[in-house]
């Protein structure tokens, strides 16, 4: 096939546009700020962003299954707290890490149980657990100042360098890859999409939609737990309010990457690219020494532009490549002309 159609083919992969925008942004920053590509600067912000990637990956499952999870930020903070506490109590590294992850899983289960069993609104429920998790962290930090463990291995969880990046990033990347593969290739992943696309048809085709949703929330919780461990190891200190607001970054990132909040559409790499886009933007603005007072404005505009760009490129590509497609419009138009 000729170049043109190759190009359109690539462009018609959803999320490519935002990826392109991301690359352009990186290039821009690296030219305009001498210190953008300084190793430690990159390492640092990716390291800071690693927890966000983890929760974004987990959250994507929930969103694709047609739900939302606002609690991940606070849960991440709490998990960081619990794992560090146990590490400070002298528990072995692996045990402390497990505690952190378990905390996340526990909240995942709580969310899942309330939402799927009582069929109540996920937004409010996870907002509730957000407050609860955040509150528990405050109680924890009031009770005990979490100012660092002596366990060097614990810090090593996120801090060790391998192939020029920290283990924190490695963990994040691994998790993203594994989750993405599972989502796209496993039969569970298939059920997640089905549930998000249509609860009723999926249900009638014999899919236990409630179970699927349940598991999605647990995954999301687990990722928050893992993220907490990484963050705790990275900061080696935890305080109340830690990681508050991460959930919004994650959601914004996911949507920016083209994950549909109505469920059934999107994938993890796109969500993570979206999150990466936001994290990079922030870092870049800092390195350029832009007045922080207008960060918000710039970020907001970038989100808007990003979303529009992503879709318009996709549609354009579709329009071009459309010529060599079969005639098949009827239903499309009926759905798309809403």
């Amino acid at each position: 096939m000729n170049i043109a159609s190759r190009v359109t083919r690539v462009l018609s992969i959803e999320g490519v546009a935002i990826l392109g925008a991301f690359v352009l942004m990186v290039l821009y920053f690296s030219f305009s700020s001498d210190s953008f590509f300084v190793a430690d600067s990159i390492r640092y912000y990716v390291n800071e962003a690693a927890p966000i990637f983890l929760i974004t990956a987990g959250l994507t499952y929930v969103i694709i299954a047609g739900g939302i999870d606002l609690s991940i930020g606070a849960v991440l903070g709490l998990s960081a707290g619990t794992s560090l506490t146990f590490s400070m109590w002298g528990w072995p590294t692996w045990a402390s890490a497990l505690i952190g992850i378990a905390t996340g899983l526990l909240f995942g289960v709580i969310n899942a149980a309330i939402i799927t069993f009582f069929k109540v609104n996920d937004f409010i429920v996870t907002l509730g657990t957000l407050n609860i998790a955040g509150g528990l962290l405050t109680v924890l930090t009031d009770h005990k100042q979490l100012v660092g463990t002596s366990d060097k291995n614990f810090m090593a969880i996120a801090g060790t360098m391998v192939f020029g990046v920290t283990t924190g990033i490695v963990i994040a990347i691994l998790a993203v890859v594994v989750l993405e593969f599972a989502l796209l290739q496993s039969s569970y992943g298939r059920r997640v999409y089905a549930t998000g696309i249509g609860r009723l048809p999926a249900f009638i085709s014999g899919i236990d939609v409630d179970k699927v949703k349940f598991q999605a929330y647990v995954i999301s919780g687990g990722m928050a737990g893992l993220g907490g461990v990484v963050l705790a190891a990275h900061l080696n200190s935890v305080q109340s309010g830690l990681a508050g607001g991460y959930e919004l970054t994650a959601i914004a990132g996911a949507v920016l990457g083209g994950v549909s909040l109505s469920g059934g559409r999107g994938s993890i790499w796109r969500a993570v690219v979206g999150a990466l886009f936001l994290a990079t933007l922030k870092q870049g603005l800092q390195l350029l020494g832009v007045d922080p007072l207008i960060y918000q404005i710039i970020t907001g505009l970038c989100i808007l532009i990003g979303v529009v760009l992503d879709r318009s490129v996709y549609n354009l590509a579709l329009r071009i490549s459309g010529r060599n497609l079969e005639r098949n419009h009827q239903a499309t138009t009926e759905l798309s002309s809403v």
Partner: protein, 343 residues
Amino acid sequence: MSEFRSKVSIASTRNRALMDPSFGVVALLALVVIVMSIFQPSFKTSGNATNIINAMMTVSFLAIGMTVVLISGGIDLSVGSTMALTAGVAGKFISYGMNMYVAFIFALIVGALVGLVNGLLITKLAIPDFIATLAMLGIGQGIMLYWTQGVPILGYMSTPYYYIGGLRKILGPISIPMIVLVVVALVVSILLKKTNLGLYFYAVGSSSVSTRNAGVHVGRIKIWAYVISGLLAGIAGIHIAGRTTTIPPLIGNGYEISAIAAAVIGGASLLGGRGRVVGALIGALTLTLTRNIINIVGIASSWQAIVIGCVLIGAVLANRASEMFGKRISERTEKLNKRKVSA
């Protein structure tokens, strides 16, 4: 598969009380109030009542606006920062020496404009409402921060503004904000119940395709919803500026969440098509009451968030419970009627 089964089960116009989307939380509130007044003498003082009402004003305004947006099937995360922005406009302009009421008008215009922009982004550019308003939240915050350079706005208070802020009462416990809230609540409920626009809000939220087929300009309707929400954010801004007598640039942070929570607790559906002004007020009351009780009972501040979280979940569970119960009853009565018919 509740939503599916509901297609099957025969809907009934009976048991409105029980079926009422916010019956559960109302019952819950009643219970709490009774318990509190028994064990906390200071709770049932008229003074405390007025405190609670005054404290729920801001959220109430925002929640009413949010309810309209939710009914039309959208969501507005920008109300908090819009409120801050409008408060800023009012405060700054007054401190520049502009006539207070003119400044208020400007504030309202700004609020409406933000709403308009939201609406246009969502309908014309087809940006997901969640993300569009999230971006507007950031932009609003940014503008406010840049404008004030992060310094709280001061020196705009005047005697009339003390009245408007509700810091001074006009007679007895009655303050101007209370009256404004009542008026706003009435106007919006009439709008929702008695006008085409109101009907369209419900229709669009319930099924935008069908509504369009019926010859309604869905886009315009959505835009109106966001404009109304913005306007109410403006009112909330004017009010909170008067209540706090100083405007920190980030004064609106977190209010959008409270507003959504209030609306949903009050029975609005995030899926659209459902919601009432009364519900919004009930929701706002729930949230305010929680804080009030926390302070009166003297729950350690570190535990407050936990309590609030539990209240949120408890509220939606209570509503759900009453709804289920109501369905049961209606199905039973339905069956009885059938018997009568066939007999």
